[in-house]
Amino acid sequence: MTADAIAMPNSKNNDRPLAISLLLGASGWIAGLFMLAFVAALFRPDSTAQAAFCGITLLVAAWGLFKVDGDGAQVFVAQLALALSIAGQCLVLYAMSGDAHGIEPIANAALVLQVALALVMPNRLHRTLSTLFACIAWALTVRYALVGNPDFGARGDAVRIAPSLALAIVAWLVAWLPVVAALWWLIRRGAVPTLQRWQVVVQPIVTGFIIGLAFATIASQPFESWRWWGGGEAAVGGLVLWPLLSALGALAAVAAAFARHQRGLMSVCVVAALLHVSHFYYALGTSLVVKSLLMLAMGAAALIAARALRPTENA
């Protein structure tokens, strides 16, 4: 029964180009923010109970509209539902973490909410967006569990942390190895008959994981590792390596997109990798000379590996 409720018949819009999906997603998301402003101004949900009621109502309405649009033929319905859902998510998130202080409880609540929505909302685009936001929430959750809340001083300087290189690498792997493993498992096991009938659920979630692995790794970066309001030098220790690890994560996302034959997504992931390398240039914690030597060594190693792996003519 549950499987039947979640698994939907084949979507007619599997062939939708990435650019059109981006147009729809961005429009729906911004419309959702305007819808949120409208609902908030109209009902003034000051308490968490009011926010929860409004939010859940909007989410249920969105679910109903998505359910109607099972084959993806009615774009207006889906867009309206997406906008309602975005507004509803913000209100439910406020209700779930309204009395809490700091980002950690918001991230925890967002993780639970987005995982539930990724499974329940019967729409490809929504599932992809929810998975992406779940990745961001997961990164923030792990990041705060590992290093705690940033403690910004009266003058705007955060209390900075400086983990060792080994600890920084382990922390990054703790945050992102589960995502890589989940992605790998879903792609490898996608052809298994038990997963075949869940493809309508699995495919958009895999796409969301790929985008999350490419872009959301930046959410792992502690706020203290950035230079805020012209604050003093940051002692970030091994965290300086994180943008480089994120670039490797983006390359892994490129490979995942290749496995799914999604060329547009591969281009997006390449852009993400370049952004992470740019971030590495600005990352505080070590000198540019060390960074340049690291990049040169990695570049040379990659070229040597490419040479060694080159298929023979027989192959």
Binding site: D4, M8, N10, N14, R16, P17, A19, I20, L22, L23, A26, S27, G28, I30, F34, M35, F38, L42, F43, R44, A49, F53, A61, G64, L65, K67, G70, A73, V75, F76, V77, Q79, L80, A83, G190, Q196, R197, Q199, Q203, L251, V254, A259, R260, S267, L288, K291, S292, L294, M295, L296, M298, G299, A300, A302, L303, I304, A306, L309, P311, A315
Partner: protein, 423 residues
Amino acid sequence: MVGMAVPVCMLMRMPVTVVAVRMVVVMLVRVIAPGADVRIALDVIVMTVTLCVGVIGVGMSHGESVTQQQLHRTTIPAGASGHPGCTRRYRPGVGRGYARGMNSPDALTPPLSPAPSLPTPLEWRRFGVGLLHAAGLAGLGAGVIFFVAANWQAWGVLGRFALLGAGVVICAGLASWRTPPQRIGQGALLLGTLFIGALLALFGQTYQTGADLHELFFTWAALALPFALAALSGAVWAVWWIVLDVGLGLLCGIVGLDHLVWRLIAGWGWQRETVLMLPCVVNLGAAALFLALRATRFADAAPPWLSRLLLTIGLGYGTAAAMIVVLDRHDASGSALVLYGVFSAAIAVGTWRARRDVFPLTALAGSWVAISTVALANAMRFEDIGAFFVVALWLIASSTVASIALMRWHRAWRSATEPGVLP
């Protein structure tokens, strides 16, 4: 609004539902928000529920009909029961069961979208080699740029110049040894293009020439042009165009209009939005040029993604210029908007006639959705809460109309070019 909503509901033959919804809403609003205006809240919720219920009703029937059409088209063999060509009556109950995802006989099991087949080991290997090759080149290029930016004092000025100069010479030598389109030659020219930029940056850093930043990028582009021409590679051309675009962006978007370059143009009465049309025109022209090259022997140097990239950048500049006009900043003239409209129309007509790729129309749609939304938001000023709803509705409606049309053309054009694809 309730007066409008109720007849709509009656048309849907569900007056009892509406009455029940009204009662529930009144009670809930009074309990949860005693101070809220019940009448307005009621109006909005009833309209929303009416809309949802109406759409659900319409959608149920439409969804079934579409599903059944698909069933006829894709799964029922000719002559079998249920096929349009069969004289036996089609059983709608079967289709309905299928449409709702219920258990169905194997013969009528809907074609679930299968998991994409994984690449073969050889494909994986080829992909891995390509990815490592690109990552290696990017790593080496980034390493050199980082190195120059570090302004490493341990090396003398001559040593640093010699290092980068040697890099350029070695790259040129490699490219002449393994001439493009061989991969080594193309990679060497890509690295050489990056080395030229690093060399220029080092020159400016060392001698404090006082030149503006955009001049550095223009000089870089000019010196690297032979490399781009020789490389016959889309990647090298992409790097070259990004360098040029950064220069154009700095010149047209950042540099003040009282700069020497703009004195002449300022005399013509041009303003920022008109100036921003310059990079727009350049990029759109380049996109058209590379598209035309696809039909020549230089097709390998003009991959489709390069035209798309240039088109997107060009439309981005045009969108920025048009937004300045619609926001009515600095008494902006409307000429830029008109010019951008003309370009947009030309691109739309050209794409429509070619009937190959729907991407240009998608980018245009995104651009004009953004411009129109900004214009609407600017006109409404958000003095009452209804403005938020109107803007949200406009975004939903405009993106919906655009995507419906785009998907229709995408399928029609694909079916015309790819055998086996249904329109």
